[in-house]
């Protein structure tokens, strides 16, 4: 049974890996297409030319964005920059959008506003007061939340794990999420939570045995996104871990059980690749990510003291002593392959 679990795990991982590699291949043909998008296709992503005549303190940031060489602009990194740029435009006189539409398709150039106060307006030679009011530019969408689901593999070398597994692998499903309190680019800090639920099963001296593990973690994630499609992250996740074990002694007719809590801290780092998006490609409302991270888990040793747990009503009067199995320490190398959605 354990071997089947392992095989399924490997297949799942390979499937994820295939998805990852396939997804990674997609953006390349898409990137050159971005500049050729008609402006009308993405009004929110292609705001009117900044109307603020006064030089903005932020314009230099746009050209220096790494996205300039990659084509699309990271939507999250644009958020604060745009807010800063566009904000003054709301109070400034409306400007014609035509020059902006004629601007080069490079979106980085679109945000290169320093020349516009003198150059663009002067070249147009039109009276600003005579122009019709222009719709205020759409506020760029900031993604504050992310939710993900993945597969986590842990390596538990501790001898206390032997009764429950034929090898040292501890597979688990993981549900996780982040909240971004302050949106900054390219580096940002996030609150993160994780819920891992997994386990293993084997035989212990001929008896069916199993281990269950639930891990609830809350911590911080630091993220660095040099380009819109790739981000690197590191996490420190203190956790509460609940470990439960069962051994079914069929000869004596009892199922021995144990459950206990311990602590853990995971330190992991990895990379995420954006594999899809909903909405404007440069400022999507929803993004899909595939991530791989690895690290090390430090965990407290937990007592595994077994006693019958499947007692009938008649058995309630019986008194049982505990049989200690080797203490279990889940510390070890961990890795996670996951998919997530951010919005």
């Amino acid at each position: 049974m354990k071997r089947a679990t392992k095989l399924q795990t490997a297949l799942l991982a390979l499937a994820f890996s295939s998805i990852a590699t396939g997804a990674m291949a997609q953006p390349k043909p898409a990137a050159p297409a971005a500049p050729s998008l008609p402006a009308g296709d993405a009004p929110a992503a292609t705001p009117p030319a900044p109307a603020a005549p006064s030089p903005s303190p932020s314009p230099p940031a746009a050209p220096s964005s790494p996205d300039a060489s990659d084509g699309p602009v990271p939507e999250e990194s644009r958020g604060p920059v745009r807010a800063f740029e566009v904000g003054p435009a709301r109070t400034a006189p409306a400007r014609k959008v035509a020059p902006a539409r004629a601007a080069p398709p490079d979106s980085a150039t679109e945000y290169s506003v320093p020349e516009e106060p003198s150059g663009a307006a002067g070249m147009a030679g039109e009276e600003p007061a005579a122009e019709a009011p222009v719709e205020p530019p759409a506020r760029p969408h900031n993604q504050y939340f992310a939710l993900g689901l993945g597969f986590r593999a842990g390596v538990v070398s501790n001898a206390g794990y032997d009764p429950y597994s034929e090898d040292n692998t501890l597979p688990a499903a993981t549900l996780f999420g982040t909240f971004t309190p302050f949106s900054t680019r390219p580096a940002s800090l996030h609150l993160a939570f994780e819920w891992d639920f997994g386990g293993a099963s084997a035989t212990a001296r001929g008896l069916p045995s199993s281990l269950g593990m639930h891990r609830l973690a809350l911590g911080l994630e630091g993220r660095y996104a040099p380009i819109s499609r790739i981000s690197f992250f590191a996490r420190a996740m203190p956790a509460a871990i609940r470990v439960s074990g069962t051994i079914d002694d069929t000869a004596l007719g009892n199922k021995l059980e144990t459950a206990s809590w311990t602590w853990g801290v995971d330190f992991t780092g990895g990379a995420a690749a954006r594999i899809g998006a909903v909405g404007d490609r440069d400022r999507p409302k929803v993004s899909f990510w595939l991530a791989l991270d690895m690290g090390y888990r430090f965990a407290g040793s937990t007592k595994m003291r077994f006693r019958p747990g499947d007692l009938t009503e008649d058995d309630q009067t019986r008194s049982f002593g505990e049989i200690p199995l080797a203490d279990l320490d889940l510390s070890g190398f961990i890795s996670r392959l996951s998919g997530s959605i951010s919005f």
């Binding site: 390979l14 390596v155 032997d162 040292n168 001296r205 008194s319 002593g321 049989i323």
Partner: protein
């Protein structure tokens, strides 16, 4: 990037798949791989697959303390010393030894009196499987059993281990007995004998055709081998009886050898070494054989004291008689018993000697439902004063001794394991105890106050108070394979009922007031890690 991701994933998943767990967990728990021994204060469970001994020690009425001691590789056999304080484990080691760190054969003596139990390890030269312990817990003999199958083996090679002394160059002591084609089959440790040259103990080795004597005070000396026949057909020695003779006479210690399917009993007088052999013999005594025909094949022999002096008693079922042999002359006298008896036990220490200072013998039979008390206090010529017979329901298959203060009681068990008799040696009464389950076993507590009766076929357990023979039945949740009446650390007594199914369980009771309400069960004993 694509390759990196794929590689990282595979690495992450495979990292935990390479190492395999300890072999212990793959081996099913089985009674074949477990040996159980009763010590004075703990029950010892030898977990052969786990290469450890688990000690279960009662601390209070509801608490057991577990400890484990590792043992060497290749468990061969184990036994508890008679005083119940040490466990002796014989290991064959890693066979064959291929690496420098492979373990060699050894004998481990685990002292349960210390906490944690302390182990003394005696290295052996060869992997052997036979083990015999001295009743006084002073010596252990390791010998090749019939199951040992080395490429080349000397079946007459023995190793003598002094368990009270630490391992050294002189301990263990190897010894090889000279044999005329036989191999060791039985060992008898004698009590201290007054022999020419001083008091000493002997180890009597029975092979399938001769007898060898080893001086335990000087085990390095060559043994003395007594060839029992010069004929083509070698009689097989079946049992040994020993007497020290008169208290201060160092020249009247004797051995008697009973032979299988032979009317003869061989008496070995341990006399001073003759003058012509003093220079050549390393021993101060030599056995002088004397063959006595007792008129039929004896089933058992023992030395007993009559008012006419020391006699060898031989139970001869074919004659329904007890034959008394005057050891120095070989003169025999028969006592008619009226029934065939096969076992002899001298019970003088229990019932007290007769008025003239002679012994009382208890005889019983595995074929006839009767027992007999024979008072040996008769004068020569009329060598029986009284033979008192007691009729039973069934023949006696085994006899269980009861420790003091109820040593005047013996529990006689029938072969079916359902019928028991509590025999009072003083009152000469036989009180029946009947079990509803075949194969019921009985165990007497070390303090001599209780009997515990149980069966592997049943979940029932019975306490029999030996003061009034009142049975108290308890219905447990699992069949009971063994019971241990142990001294608790708090001074009381605990009863451990061992459930041998699965990974084993123990039900803990207060031995003096057993109650299900106050019992505690421990299940999964073989799963535990007690470090």
């Amino acid at each position: 990037m694509r390759r990196t991701l794929g590689l990282a994933t595979i690495l992450a998943l495979s990292a935990g798949c390479g190492e395999q767990r300890a072999e212990l967990w793959d081996a099913p728990a089985s009674g074949e791989n477990v040996a159980v021994h009763a010590l004075r204060g703990s029950a010892a469970v030898v977990d052969v697959v786990g290469e450890r001994v688990i000690f279960a020690t009662p601390e209070s009425t509801d608490s057991l303390a577990f400890a484990q001691v590792p043992i060497e590789h290749g468990h061969a056999t184990s036994a508890a010393t008679r005083d119940g304080e040490r466990l002796v484990v014989l290991s064959r080691g890693d066979v064959p030894r291929r690496r420098a760190d492979d373990q060699g054969p050894s004998l481990s003596v685990i002292d349960s009196r210390t906490s944690p139990p302390k182990t003394s390890r005696y290295e052996l030269a060869d992997p052997l499987s036979g083990l015999e312990l001295d009743p006084t817990s002073e010596y252990a003999v390791v010998y090749p059993s019939k199951s040992d199958a080395s490429f080349v083996q000397n079946p007459n090679e023995l190793v003598l281990v002094k368990m009270n002394e630490p391992p050294s160059e002189d301990n263990p002591v190897p010894a090889t007995i000279r044999s005329f084609g036989g191999r060791p089959e039985g060992f008898t440790f004698t009590p201290e004998l007054s022999l020419p040259g001083g008091k000493r103990r002997l180890l009597v080795v029975r092979t399938d055709r001769d007898v060898a004597l080893i001086d335990l005070d000087a085990p390095g000396k060559p043994e003395i081998t007594v060839k029992l026949t010069t004929g083509a057909v070698a009689p097989k020695p079946a049992s040994i009886a020993v007497t020290d003779g008169e208290l201060d006479d160092e020249n009247d210690a004797r051995l008697a050898v009973r032979m299988e399917q032979d009317h003869n009993v061989i008496l070995l007088d341990l006399l001073p070494t003759p003058g012509d052999k003093v220079q050549t013999s390393p021993h101060s005594f030599l056995p002088v054989p004397n063959i006595v025909d007792v008129g039929g094949t004896p089933a058992d022999i023992a030395f007993g004291q009559t008012d006419g002096g020391l006699r060898l008693l031989a139970a001869v079922p074919s004659k329904s008689a007890l034959v008394l042999v005057e050891p120095s002359t070989g003169v025999t006298t028969e006592i008619a018993l009226g029934a065939p008896f096969e076992k002899i036990s001298i019970v003088t220490e229990i019932v007290g000697e007769t008025a003239n200072g002679s012994d009382v013998a208890l005889l019983w039979s595995t074929s006839s439902p009767v027992i007999a008390f024979v008072a040996l206090g008769a004068t020569v010529g009329t060598p029986y004063k009284s033979v008192e017979r007691l009729q039973l329901e069934q023949p006696v298959a085994s006899v269980l001794d009861v420790p003091a203060p109820n040593s005047d009681l013996k529990l006689l068990a029938a072969a079916d394991g359902r019928s028991f008799v509590v025999l009072n040696l003083i009152a000469r009464t036989a009180s029946p105890l009947l079990s509803s389950t075949y194969g019921t076993q009985a165990m007497a507590s070390r303090d001599g106050e209780r009997l515990w009766m149980f069966s592997e076929q049943s979940s029932s357990l019975a306490l029999v108070n030996l003061a009034n023979l009142h049975p108290q039945n308890l219905e447990l949740n699992y069949p009971v394979g063994r019971t241990f009446d142990l001294e608790r650390k708090d001074g009381g007594h605990a009863l451990l009922a061992l459930h041998t199914a699965g990974t084993m369980g123990i039900s803990l009771f207060d031995a003096q007031k057993p109650s299900l309400d106050e019992s505690t069960e421990y299940l999964g004993i073989l799963l535990g890690d007690y470090q």
